[in-house]
Symmetry: C2
Subunit: 323 residues, 2 copies
């Protein structure tokens, strides 16, 4: 199947790597709102084109994987291109999912295309873990822990503070809380009980460190509800020790059948958040193409994808090797 | 939806408990090859009937959950009843899955019914974990560890030895091997490297303990390839400490995107193997009923079930609460 990637930031580059590993997928082009001449990609033979070219490439691309931000890019892009292509996105603004789903559904149905939204690991694989667990053992509790890993949103929030040159924020699950959940204790956990936040900050010369630290720790929504530590380091140390984008976490579900307790845990330990997320998007592109080939259309999430559609293997092969 | 259970051993009882917790499911009857008068069940209002009654209850039962053994019961029962009902089973003889699938497929398609085979946790949820991981990160390695938990097949094998009154066998994963896999080291592991076997044995009076121990430890397929420990205990101690059927384990997948490693782990810690398995079967019964209501037919595995079919919640509710 022929793949297009819209957007070439960290996620778009992650999708490109994933497509290169999938024998049944071929990257046709990366589309960008920037000047294509300024972008060089890693796939021999694939083009870099302006988004304008998407108006006329329906015969050349089977699935368009849209790698934009959830705040402003995807709400506009995904419905727009779902009217022309099978599309995949990683929309993760939870409160706006109903609206986004409805917009993509309308466009995709009218065009007889499939649009899979909110793919990745959370939303995505973590959501699937919650759904499977609740379906098997109704009435239990799910707990999601994120980290240890880099939150790009929180890192950006620190960078916007006056006097900050650079920053990297790690979200860290509280191990004692994780253990209680793993033991099936069903604890009631506050925001502060579940995660701590570690901030590594490069200050500008002459900046007031105490003021920066206070601004971080008291920032509403981002840090005020957490136990937060702030460590000032040099740009060199930040680049050397904290340049990657690792992430991960666990969904732990605790349920019962009468007196018998059962604990289900799904966990990820990822060296690169955007490359793993890109790999999920590439697998969803395979599913979208196959579902559309069978006549399905409209908006979907990973909840609506029979797992076999994600795999390049046939039903016979899957039953022989993975069942 | 109206549910029938065929077979009332540990698994059938587990399914009964699960159906009682599912608001959208009603147990109509338990069917047995034994004398129905000798069986009392836990669901008020549900009947206990002979399997003969199944010939004429198509209007009263939407899904029949077949709780028989994989060796001789299911190969005969599942195709037979797939010609009359939507059916679910937990067939787990791996080498015979292609034949079983084909037989159920033929019967179910001819009757316009859905037959979901090999449901449970392995095969079942563990299979799904392998499939999702391989689809997202092709080229990696999956490792499955079972336990700590009771293997009923191995316990039965010990009980067949001369001089043994009762026995319970625990399968135990080797923690050092699990840790290597979790660290993404992709080790090559022999059978002996992955699991040990702990046997708690009640000997008959006057039995030759050394002979029993030797027979266990050298038993081909079951124990000879493992580091096995044998502990003789009294029937009272066995009943008191080892009467449950706990089980569980982990599927750990280790893959990469170029230089970046990613580790995916799905694990279960179950107080009761048959009750958890029964809960999976009940969720699959919901899916079979809904898929058949939408016009689908034929043999399926959990690979073919879009996750949303397993849940009683609507698409809107799932997206709002679990995505």
């Amino acid at each position: 199947m022929k793949i297009g990637i819209l957007g070439y930031g960290n996620l778009g580059k992650g999708v490109e790597k994933a497509v290169a590993k999938n024998d049944d997928q071929e990257l046709v082009a990366v589309f960008t709102r920037r000047d294509p001449a300024g972008i060089s990609i890693n796939t021999p033979g694939a083009k870099v084109l302006s988004t304008d070219a998407l108006e006329n490439m329906q015969d050349e691309i089977d699935v368009l994987i849209i790698c934009g931000g959830s705040a402003t890019d995807l709400p506009e892009m995904t419905p727009k291109y779902a009217a022309m292509y099978n599309v995949i996105d990683s929309f993760d603004t939870h409160a706006n999912i109903p609206t986004h789903f409805a917009n993509v559904d309308e466009a995709a149905k009218a065009a007889n295309k499939v649009g899979v939204i909110s793919c990745g690991w959370d939303p995505g694989m973590f959501s699937l873990s919650r759904l499977y667990a609740h379906s098997i053992l109704p009435g239990g509790n799910d707990y999601t822990f994120w980290g240890r890993g880099v939150s790009q949103g929180h890192s950006d929030a620190i960078r916007r503070i006056d006097g900050v040159a650079d920053a990297r924020q790690f979200t860290v699950p509280v191990e004692a809380a994780v253990e209680k959940v793993r033991n099936g204790e069903n604890p009631t956990l506050s925001t502060r009980d579940k995660h701590t936040r570690e901030c590594f900050v490069v200050a500008k010369e002459g900046a007031d460190l105490a003021k920066i630290e206070n601004e971080i720790k008291t920032m509403p929504n981002y840090f005020a509800d957490y136990d937060t530590t702030v460590t000032f380091i040099s740009q060199e140390e930040l680049n050397e020790k904290y340049s990657g984008l690792p992430h991960g976490g666990s969904v732990i579900y605790s349920g019962n059948t009468g007196d018998n307790k059962h604990v289900i845990e799904y966990s990820l330990k990822l060296d690169s958040n955007p490359e793993f997320t890109g790999s999920v998007l590439a697998a969803c592109a395979r599913a979208a193409y196959r579902m559309n080939s069978e006549g399905m259309s409209g908006a979907k999430t990973m909840f609506d994808i029979a797992p076999s559609y994600l795999s390049p293997l046939s039903g016979e092969e899957l039953r022989a090797h993975m069942l």
